[in-house]
């Protein structure tokens, strides 16, 4: 089973798409799709071979390129892909999408294929223990309702229990479901209204949702939550200095790899890293920074530095009181 195979090459994929969807296509459209789904320089190699009879998949008619292959063209799955599907069917979250009967049926379709991996092959050794209960029928129902609401752009009525045990009812437009690998849980990213000029993304833990029902209100288009989330990032990023000792640089760069960041060398063994974050990510980022101890130093922004210094001052006072 080859992972790095030409079968998955993006040139093959874009040609497949042309054959299946765009039976009659202009060179301009072809150019657009290649630029959109392949690499930056693919057009130089690929376009002449598709338009000038080199591979012969298309012929020119009335200024358009028409497929010479059948409309039903498809690429059958590879064993690697079937084997991956079998692996996915073993995960406990799969029941949020498929019933037991459906899982058994799909397994039967690929009865001669072994799963690519099993849950027992992996151990997430620092994952949090209070994971969501994916086997809970209410949870599954809420999850499916929210998926339907996102796809249909429908507002939902949610009864939610807050961290402090208060129950609140509210109407939201669900935009995405966010899965946290560290917490092994889902959160809903939603807005109160798609018509707001400056909407805020509300984050609700799925495990705290007590009830959710679809309303009759829909939105023409989901808001651009990337823009909203990016706008929520502090204007001034956290600025940290890393002394490259005890592999600290490599460790820090890896640990902060899932933040938007930029790094530069400022002298022989010191590096400056800017990390972009918002208010909701602040405590988590602070905890991650603390875990490095003296190997990294926060130098900005002012608020983030203050939070860190407060913790250190409190720790000093605590140790002095004991001694």
């Amino acid at each position: 089973m080859e992972l790095f195979s030409e079968v998955y090459n993006c040139y093959f994929q874009v040609i497949s798409a042309f054959l299946q969807k765009d039976r009659r296509i202009s060179e301009r459209e072809m150019r657009f799709h290649i630029n959109d789904s392949c690499f930056r320089e693919s057009i130089l190699y690929l376009l002449p071979r598709l338009t000038k009879q080199s591979w012969g998949f298309f012929e020119k008619k009335d200024g358009f390129l028409c497929s010479k292959l059948s409309e039903q063209f498809y690429t059958p799955l590879t064993d690697l892909q079937k084997s991956y599907l079998k692996a996915v069917l073993l995960d406990d979250k799969i029941r949020l999408f498929l019933s037991n009967t459906e899982i058994a049926d799909i397994n039967a379709v690929f009865s001669n294929i072994r799963p690519l991996y099993t849950p027992e092959d992996f151990y997430y050794y620092d994952r949090f223990a209070d994971r969501d209960d994916y086997g809970n029928p209410d949870y599954r129902k809420h999850f499916q309702t929210l998926m339907a609401a996102i796809l249909d752009r429908t507002y939902v009525d949610i009864l939610y229990e807050s961290r402090f045990g208060h129950r609140v009812r509210h109407i939201y437009l669900p935009c995405r479901l966010e899965y946290s690998i560290k917490n092994d849980c889902f959160r809903l990213l939603a807005v109160e209204s798609h018509r707001q000029r400056n909407p805020r993304v509300e984050i609700l833990n799925l495990s705290r949702i007590q009830a959710v029902t679809l309303t009759s209100k829909t939105a023409g288009k989901l808001p651009d939550i990337n823009r909203i989330l990016s706008r929520s990032y502090h204007r001034e990023p956290a600025r940290i200095l890393i002394k490259d000792r005890r592999n600290a640089l490599e460790r820090a760069m890896l640990q902060f790899a899932n933040y938007e960041k930029s790094t530069r060398r400022i002298d022989a063994d010191t590096y400056e890293c800017l990390i972009y974050y918002n208010k909701k990510m602040e405590t988590e980022l602070l905890i991650e920074v603390l875990s490095f101890g003296p190997m990294i130093q926060v130098v900005g922004n002012k608020d983030f530095l203050r939070l860190l210094k407060e913790r250190l001052a409190r720790q000093k006072a605590m140790l002095e009181e004991i001694s």
Binding site: Y11, T78, L85, L98, Y117, Y179, K243, E288, P294
Partner: protein, 419 residues
């Protein structure tokens, strides 16, 4: 001097470059050691081509510094998957792919000779029968074509279209939208989305390390060896010193850190009779060896031992069996319940006790207490005492705290602490 090509034959060299650009993101032409300037220029151009849209450039004086800026919280898929779609191919590869599959889709099962003749008749393209047979066999091995023997003839036919499965089980497409982002070898899920012509319009992922995908070829080889219960020979390049070392062992499990962005292979070393670990990103080559007869027994032993491993270490410096760690923390009961919650969910079944008003202890027994230090530091501001039968732990904690305090409260702070 070789001509620049966007596609590549083998992934291993580019893997190092993409990793360095993605993880570090600050290396200039001169800082990349080991390869010539021309190689750097080609790799950089390739990376800019593969990942255009995510590549940013900064200038340091006259030097151009490019880096990858990827915020995993905001993406529908992992942009680094694109590097897996850059395998080079020949004109014959691409033509045979489309003509063979299209011809077979519209015919009954055929021999390789029948396919060769059919392609000539239907598309007016001539191939050598041997070339067609080789491609049919390659695709049968990949699972794309089904191969059956009827009498003396070998017949080929295509597998079922994925779209049939998707229309019978609509929930499957939504599941793939999620798993391609969060599962091991998610790149395969991403190729399924392409095959089924759908995109992820439902999910986002948090705490995902997109860079993991660069190790997927190594992971795949290890999983296959694990499932066959085989020992392996590994070529490992130290992440600190760049020195290669060769090792042999029995691969048992992949330990994943959801916090630090590292994945480890846990393997058993039969000659040393102990468990060991190797970072997946440091493993450069995997060679399968013989089946290891006692595989089930050592796997069971690992399952028992993993409960007492805080991270990936199965022994400590003093070679004692387990080390005891006790933290005493100041936690305001009425307003800081979330700290207790943190201890419960992150503390791996450690025992939490209330010992006085607003004072709690957390106790655990682990193989290597030093592995707990980064976690202990995260409670800075609440720690009343750190106790352990590993004396180094307390010393390290105190040393680190003093260094941090000096760093932030001395008049002339510098980056990092003096050791």
């Amino acid at each position: 001097m070789s001509e620049f090509k966007e596609l590549i034959k083998s992934f291993s060299k580019s893997r190092e470059y993409v990793r360095d650009f993605f993880v570090y993101g600050f290396k200039t032409r001169d800082e990349f050691g080991g390869w010539s300037g021309r190689t750097y220029d080609n790799e950089r151009r390739r990376l800019e081509s593969w990942l255009s849209g995510y590549v940013r450039a900064e200038y340091k004086g006259k030097e151009k510094n490019i880096y990858l800026s990827i915020d995993s919280n905001l993406l529908d898929t992992n942009p680094l998957y694109r590097v897996w779609k850059a395998k080079s191919f020949t004109d014959n590869d691409v033509m045979l792919h489309f003509y063979i599959l299209d011809y077979l889709e519209n015919s009954k099962a055929q021999t390789a000779d029948g396919v060769t003749d059919g392609i000539l008749a239907r598309y007016n393209v001539m191939f050598d029968a041997q070339t067609v047979r080789r491609k049919c066999n390659q695709y049968a091995q990949e699972g794309i074509l089904l191969k059956e023997k009827r009498g003396k003839e070998v017949l080929y036919r295509p597998g079922t279209p994925f779209r049939k499965l998707l229309s019978a089980y609509p929930g499957l497409a939504d599941a793939i939208k999620l798993y391609q982002l969060i599962s091991p070898l998610g790149i395969v899920g991403n190729t399924l989305m392409e095959n089924g012509s759908f995109a992820n319009d439902l999910f986002r992922v948090k705490h995902s390390f997109f860079v993991f995908t660069l190790e997927d070829e190594i992971l795949l080889a290890l999983l296959l060896a694990m499932h066959e219960k085989r020992a392996v020979h590994l070529s490992i390049k130290s992440t600190r010193t760049d020195i290669f070392k060769e090792t042999e062992g029995v691969p048992l499990k992949i330990f994943v850190s959801a916090r630090t962005g590292r994945r480890f292979l846990i393997l058993y070393l039969p000659d040393k009779r102990r468990f060991s670990s190797a970072r997946l990103d440091a493993i450069k080559k995997v060679t399968k060896l013989d089946i290891y007869p006692a595989y089930p027994e050592i796997k069971e032993k690992l399952e028992k031992n993993k409960k007492s491993a805080w991270g990936v270490s199965f022994q400590n410096e003093s070679r004692t069996h387990l080390e005891h760690v006790k933290l005493t923390l100041h936690i305001k009961e009425d307003s800081e319940g979330f700290i207790l919650k943190r201890l419960e969910r992150e503390g791996k079944d450690g025992i939490i006790r209330k010992t006085a008003p607003d004072t709690f202890t957390y106790e655990a027994e682990v193989f290597d207490a030093n592995e707990m230090l980064p976690w202990i530091r995260t409670f800075m501001g609440r720690i009343l005492a750190v106790e352990s039968d590993c004396p180094k732990l307390k010393q390290l904690f105190q040393r680190d705290f003093s260094a941090m305090y000096r760093m932030y409260f001395s008049e002339y702070p510098g980056a990092g602490a003096k050791e």
